[in-house]
Amino acid sequence: MIRSLFYLFVFPGFIFQIICGLTFEWIDRKLLARFQRRVGPPWYQPLADLIKLFSKEDLLPERANDAVAALLPLISLSAVLTAGLYIPVAGFSPYSFEGDLIVVIFLMSVPTLAYYLAGIVSVGIYSILGGGRSLLQFFSYEVPLLITLSGPAILGGSWSVAEIMHAQVELGPFIIYQPLGFILAVVGLIGKLKRDPLDIPKATSEVVGGSLTEFSGVKLGIWHLVMNVQAVVGIFLLVDLYFGWTKLANPLTSVSIFIIESLIIAFTLSVTSAIFARLRIDQLAGLGWKVLVPLALLQLGFVILMGV
């Protein structure tokens, strides 16, 4: 009982993931600032921002549905935190079962759908525009991402993240067999997280704040938390699926390797957000269906052939 409460709330659950989310936000902001010749925030800035948002007044337009608007960020947060439970962190996964990869992918889509609904229930013009865009974007990146993520599953012979991870001890890291798949997965992750250059649903100069334009206070704070935790869960998922986990004699070394691998992906996310211009929604749809899907199918075909 106490053990499962510890798993749920401390590690690898609630507290650990939120700390990781805030750390990721700080690393991302600091790196971006350095790329842009700025100093960047101190390490406690994300936490300070969160506390500030939580203490601010919570306002919504008169016609907005208050109850639903309050529920949506909570549902999203619980979905990404639950997804995080099934993803092995440094090889540790207490709740792993066969097929949890599909559950994780499903739970990771919940925030996107909630984001769309948030735009609709908060009745601003920009919110509705941003919500519609987020759904369009969802259809552009989700299909190639699903096809790509089935690559490691087929190669590892299992639909459990932990099993796929362990399969790489024998076969070697899957990134060697699927470099293309790894790149596609990172692109899909950027789309999922609505980060630059795929921040189309919340492009400031076009739709102000996107779906979250009308949100403030605690609700906005939770939304920010959702985005950060989602980023961390996505990064851990990619590390498990493509780099694997090697249990060395010294546990400290293995944990350090896991952290370094996560940081490499975080660094990639920051660099891409710094150097690329934002795409237009029609350009993204074209990229998704004309480039990413064929490439993902190519990678999948290669994996299937290799399995035979």
Partner: protein, 360 residues
């Protein structure tokens, strides 16, 4: 899909100055838009009639926060023409140097804004950092970053010494390599090209019929620059290139402005090389003889037009200012049809709005 009307402004993250637009959209397609101006109208032309010529200088400098120097230069040239005096050559060159520094700073500011609007925040930060260099020069030689108060009727207020020359040359060299890098980004970065190429193209005929001037006109193949076609000192003594491009789209406008920035850096260097010695100002009488005059200058955004009428007193009888932004704004509703919602920022930024100039 239903037609929705989205308001842009008077307050919007897209706008740095107040301007109101109503844009009709259907889904992601823009159907058209309408424009409302006048949020920063301060009645400067009327105020100028109530002040003396010397006081007007400080009023006119405050028409615009970006191209403040070119406004006073044009005003001084108008008053000097009525007085019938010629200012010393050294003063003309110092005025020219400030004009070109201002052009560099204005164009770099604009480049940063368009980069930000297409999501290239890194380039935004870098261009605004580079822009600081030209602001540093202006602060060092005049004491002010934005309002320089360099001009006075009959010359300039400041003089340059050997240390200034060395400092300016050193900074210009750095600026030169930075501008080369910027051009490289806008010419090669695929996502930036995809966002600007072919967006809201303007034909040469349209530009001419609306009387649009400046970099926007030059990006549509109109080969016109006051500095060359109606030259005033020091531009009649110095060689420079007028940059044109036949594309007419948002990318061509970017290209023209980056190339002009590079050309301005070169111009600054040749102004420094040819700087004559001597006095920087002459004494002028307080009262201006009766008469009227029209003076044109090339501001960073295009032709700046001043009409001045004097009744022989120490106050102008009428001052009329026509800024380049107003003509460019008249083309905005045309540009805002048959584009995507995502292109609105690119189109708006392409105009290089200076609402304070247009409203006065």
């Amino acid at each position: 899909m239903d037609k929705i009307s989205i308001p842009i402004g008077p307050q919007h993250p897209l706008l740095k100055e107040p301007l109101s637009m109503k844009i009709d959209i259907s889904g992601e397609k823009v159907l058209g838009g309408s424009l409302r101006l006048g949020y920063v109208h301060r009645g400067i032309e009327r105020l100028a009639q109530q002040r003396t010529y010397v006081q007007d200088l400080y009023l006119i400098e405050r028409i615009c926060g970006i191209c403040s120097h070119i406004h006073t230069t044009t005003f001084c040239r108008a008053v000097e023409a009525l007085l019938g005096i010629e200012i010393p050559p050294r003063a003309q060159y110092i005025r020219g140097l400030m004009c070109e520094l201002e052009r560099i700073h204005s164009h770099l500011l604009w480049l940063g804004i368009i980069a930000k609007h297409i999501g290239l925040d890194t380039i935004f930060m870098h261009t605004w950092h580079d822009r600081e260099m030209s602001l540093d020069i202006m602060e060092e030689i005049s004491g002010g970053r934005v309002l320089h108060a360099v001009n006075q009727i009959g010359g300039v207020r400041i003089d340059l010494d050997q240390e200034h020359y060395e400092m300016i040359r050193r900074i210009l060299k750095k600026l030169h390599s930075q501008v080369e890098g910027l051009l490289d980004v806008f010419e090669t970065e695929p996502a930036a090209m995809a966002r600007t190429k072919g967006v809201a193209p303007l034909s040469t005929e349209l530009i001419k019929s609306y009387g649009v001037v400046g970099p926007i006109a030059r990006a549509s193949g109109v080969n016109f620059d006051i500095r060359r076609d109606d030259p005033y000192p020091p531009y009649d003594q110095i060689d420079f290139k007028v940059i044109t491009h036949s594309g007419g789209d948002a990318w061509a406008r970017t290209f023209v402005r980056v190339e002009e920035t590079r050309e301005s850096v070169n111009l600054c260097e040749s102004i420094l090389d040819n700087m004559p010695d001597g006095e920087v100002s002459v004494r002028v009488p307080r009262r201006v003889p009766e008469g009227e005059v029209i003076v044109r200058s090339e501001a960073p955004r295009g032709e700046l037009f001043y009409y001045l009428r004097s009744d022989g007193s120490d106050k102008p009888a009428r001052l009329k200012v026509r800024t380049p932004t107003l003509s460019a704004l008249s083309l905005l509703p045309i540009q805002l049809s048959a584009i995507n919602v995502a292109d609105i920022p690119v189109v708006l930024a392409g105009v290089d709005l200076c609402v304070a100039c247009a409203d006065r």
